[in-house]
Symmetry: C2
């Protein structure tokens, strides 16, 4: 059994608490607002009303026996930082903290957060990449300079095979999957293409590579 | 030149507006709070203070000439729904609207949103998948019913090559990149593995495939 606590039950915290519980974990949900605690009680293992920025409140939780604690307090930056620092002092093995801006994220890392999450920032980046270029349907950062992008097959690629296009050599990218379009006779399917696959006009390409190679691919028509 | 308007300059809206502008697009930023409009003026093409839930305000924007409008109003569900409906009536070609819960998302789809985004929900899901299963380090839903997951190599996989493991056939997943662990003599590196790569105990696998194949992979030890 994995045991978690989630502190701060706004939109983000609520979904994390109920999501973990539905995956079979034990979840203690915490908020200083009694109404939020009452609203979630049926959907988690237990729910408690307390102010997590007070030392004796955090000590009473026994966080050293948990797998991880998520600090989902957003707007109240001071409460989020104090809570994270107190959790570290109380011996919490793994702290995930939510940030509302760059500076907040840096401070959380300094006071003991093992992982910092920025929900608005991550999702804004994905939307911006998808809107700014007509070919990019989705895009996520992987690790280091690697990205995964989902692209509409550029018109100039259609009718050619992957080996003919030489994407690895020309753009240092790897086509890792292709989603074919739905037609009257066939449903959309996912394929892991081999070098001789010939691109069709409606194909969606799942491509992995360094940002610079993907940018050059974006620009094609 | 792509032209966008972003209505609602909270954490999410601000990042979308400035992000699009930095990608070279023309961006009109809008909020009913004059302080938010003043704060963003230098980072976008233009910024305007108005109440987007009023019909004559939306008509004055000329949204039919834009590529897309993003409605980033969060907590005020009524203003978000009214704004989306007014944009559709004014002939906006593409509307991206942000939802705060399930019901809100459904209504936005009914009144004209072409795409509905749920920043807190998407990021909460990613975090829950990463925390609930000890093998999954990260996990994102991609457009087109595929997922990207970052997994610790299951113990039973170590010492075997990718072709021996037959992941494509058995789980319909593709290992798109591997992050090797840092050792005393070598830094962590990211590689595009070929079929004969032999998995090491600390390897992190970046895997793409339909959800069902990934779930089965999660469960291995
Ligand atoms: N010291 C504290 N102790 C416990 N709970 C707290 C504390 N401070 C704030 N909270 C709770 O954290 C929750 C979320 O915080 P807040 O409203 O700051 O974030 P938010 O970014 O607006 O939330 P979201 O975007 O997830 O809806 C609120 O329910 C609030 O009551
Ligand atoms: N009718 C309206 N016209 C223009 N702007 C509006 C309107 N209603 C709300 N806004 C603005 O939308 C912005 C974001 O809205 P809100 O505070 O509801 O969302 P939020 O979910 O808390 O934001 P975030 O999580 O992105 O910080 C606010 O700056 C608010 O002033």
């Amino acid at each position: 059994y994995r045991q978690f606590a989630v502190i701060g039950l706004g939109r983000f915290g609520q979904r994390v608490a109920t999501g973990l519980y539905q995956m079979g974990a034990e979840v203690l949900a915490i908020d200083s607002d009694a109404a939020k605690v009452a609203a979630i009680k049926q959907q988690v293992t237990a729910a408690v009303c307390l102010d997590s920025a007070r030392e004796e409140a955090v000590r009473s939780l026994g966080v050293d026996n948990m797998d991880a604690v998520v600090v989902a307090i957003g707007r109240d930056v001071q409460a989020s930082i104090l809570t994270t620092a107190l959790l570290q002092q109380a011996g919490c093995p793994y702290i995930v903290a939510r940030a509302s801006n760059e500076l907040h994220a840096q401070i959380l890392g300094m006071v003991g957060a093992n992982r910092v999450i920025y929900p608005e920032d991550e999702e804004a980046k994905r939307l911006v990449r998808g809107l700014a270029s007509p070919h990019v349907l989705d895009q996520v950062d992987l690790v280091g300079d690697l990205e995964l992008a989902v692209l509409k097959a550029p018109r100039s690629f259609c009718g050619k095979s992957l080996v003919e296009l030489g994407l690895r050599q020309k753009y240092t990218v790897n086509v890792v999957a292709i989603r074919t379009a739905e037609t009257d006779t066939q449903a959309a399917t996912t394929i892991f293409p081999d070098a001789h696959y010939v691109l069709q006009p409606q194909d969606q390409l799942y491509v992995v590579g360094p940002s610079e190679g993907l940018r050059r691919l974006d620009g094609l028509d």
